[in-house]
Symmetry: C2
Subunit: 360 residues, 2 copies
């Protein structure tokens, strides 16, 4: 098809305290008493009764706490799937991801790999998934990545960092409860919020843009500016609006693509394990020539919120390490084509990427 | 649940010419050779080969042309359902609505009534539908109503004009092809576009508003202003953007509600058969006291596009006729509560409504 038939999240709840509705939402989805709900939860919530006491557990339902200190890996998905299969008599009734982009992407990937054979790394790419995933629910506890609404789950594999992009990837249910983001540390709030901001800049300045993606991207960008540049919102309004910015920013990618910042930050992430949010910021900070207005505003927001980005993270890398990052980055052809057009490879040369990486 | 678990359209295609993808989209949805696709098509497209030649017909698939000169009725839905059941061996594989709000609402209602017993009028209200509808596809050929994305199908019954609001109402598939709107006459374009504008004003000024609905409503309003007030867009850009405005305007109602204009225009429509778009305009023109800024801008757009609204349509009505309109209107409690708050009945008195109707 010339135009993508975009699969939307089937159900969405929005509201402060809407997390309480999880019990009622899951009840009709239980397939049997031997088919548990598995909750993948960011381990920052371990022993946080305010959240965990509201996770409904019955029969063999299970919480698995996972650290989001590292980006999600294909091997991690394989291990989780094996663990779940070995410990349950039946395929789960549902996988519920509670956390930021890492946990949401893990929940999406695990739900896919429970119904698709082989190793996770074989599904990195576009439309390689054959079977419908297990019912899966996304509950973001930090806003910006758009993982709650996107058609991908981005994983680091042995050879590449690349998403499982498929019609079966989007969540069947999303709960948007801005109250869950209240304890996010400031730096993390900024980096993840900037992931949304950078989505908008990359989408709105991309060659793939159409009126669908534009309308979502413009709204998300407007919300980001309201949150990060103006000083007129209450804390709660900021939480509410950033959650919607993330949602619209994610939808903006539906018909568009991300661009240079994402392509290069995947390289950092693959080689150095740099987390996605901060990695995007480190890269974007150096991209004036590609996104002059966007980078100018980014620097203003960075300064307003007194954010110090790490410096010189590539300074001591050997040439072959730089080459690995360049390989990972240049493999993301749709991102480069969206950013720079059909002749992108004449602009995004290995030398250009090397010189940019060396500034970071 | 305190917060609505909103059912979204499962799949959406956007793009000029995306109507061509209908064949490919429907093919995997055919249940058997005896289970046809039924296309409900606005009769303005009868003998319009540009559109009809692209409707894929196989086996017992069937086009039913329907006039949108009158608002859709519950009795009309009953007749269509009976006709479809009598003329086919099996339940249809799908119902495809091609047209404006009238055709889209008919397609939604027919798909529901094919799987739910009894008369359509019994389902007017909130969450009365018991069974999942037949697969249904919406293809708007005029933009503004938001019917392509909403959770309702508004019908005139023997006793009331009211929607079938249910989780089974939204389309399984929507095709947004702005090219299909190219022949809409100017007056109709304006009236239906203003339906979207009025959705936004009513949603954004309503007491039900939250950050979810606000973000959609603000974007739709911004697009309406760009289209109807500024003079900087090409014809194609206007078509593209109005289709997105309609979509976002429809989503804005998800967590919110419409308000005074819709409540009162339902009265006009019930008694006089006034079409929804123009009816909203006739009412909204008199609502300065409720929506001062919104009405001011509306009058400006009306003048810019040289639109003459009918005058005095209620001038010769008898008191008992006015009473019928007031009854229909005041029965729409959620609309009034959204517009005026919990104590709405102290403001929206029968006398107030009568005085407003008499101005129209």
């Amino acid at each position: 098809m010339a135009y993508k038939n975009y699969p939307m999240v089937s159900r969405v709840v929005f509201g402060r305290g809407s997390f309480n509705e999880l019990t009622e939402i899951l009840a009709p989805k239980r397939l049997s008493i031997n088919a548990p709900f598995i909750f993948l939860v960011d381990d920052v919530f371990e022993r946080n009764a305010w959240l965990t006491s509201r996770i409904p557990l019955a029969y063999n339902d299970n919480i698995i706490y996972i650290s989001a200190d590292e980006e999600p890996k294909t091997s991690q998905v394989d291990e989780l799937v094996e663990h779940i299969i070995l410990n349950n008599k039946e395929r789960p009734s549902g996988i519920i991801g509670i956390g930021g982009g890492t946990l949401l992407d893990l929940a999406k990937a695990v739900s896919i790999m429970l119904t698709n054979d082989g190793e996770t790394k074989n599904y990195q790419g576009w439309d390689l998934v054959k079977n419908k995933a297990v019912y899966h629910v996304g509950i973001p506890t930090i806003s910006g990545t758009g993982a709650e609404v996107s058609r991908t789950t981005v994983l680091t594999g042995p050879e590449k960092k690349l998403g499982i992009n498929s019609d079966y990837t989007p969540f069947d249910q999303v709960i948007l409860d801005p109250e869950l983001t209240k304890k996010v540390p400031k730096d993390q709030w900024f980096y993840t919020g900037m992931d949304c901001y950078i989505h908008c800049i990359e989408s709105l300045n991309g060659t793939y843009l159409n009126a669908f993606s534009q309308s979502y991207g413009e709204k998300a960008l407007e919300l980001c500016k309201e949150i990060f540049l103006e000083n007129s919102l209450s804390t709660e309004e900021k939480q509410d609006k950033l959650m919607m910015a993330s949602w619209h920013g994610g939808m903006s990618i539906a018909y568009s693509q991300v661009g240079v910042a994402h392509a290069m930050s995947y390289g950092l992430s693959f080689l150095l394990g740099t987390k996605h949010g901060i990695g995007n910021c480190i890269v974007f900070d150096q991209l004036e020539e590609f996104y002059p207005e966007g980078v100018k505003l980014f620097k203003k927001m960075k300064s307003l919120h007194d954010i110090q980005l790490p410096q010189g993270i590539c300074a001591n890398l050997a040439d072959d390490e730089i080459d690995i990052m360049i390989d990972v980055s240049l493999a993301l052809k749709p991102l480069w084509e969206n950013a720079l057009g059909k002749n992108w490879s004449k602009i995004a040369t290995r030398e250009k990427l090397k010189s940019l990486y060396l500034k970071m």
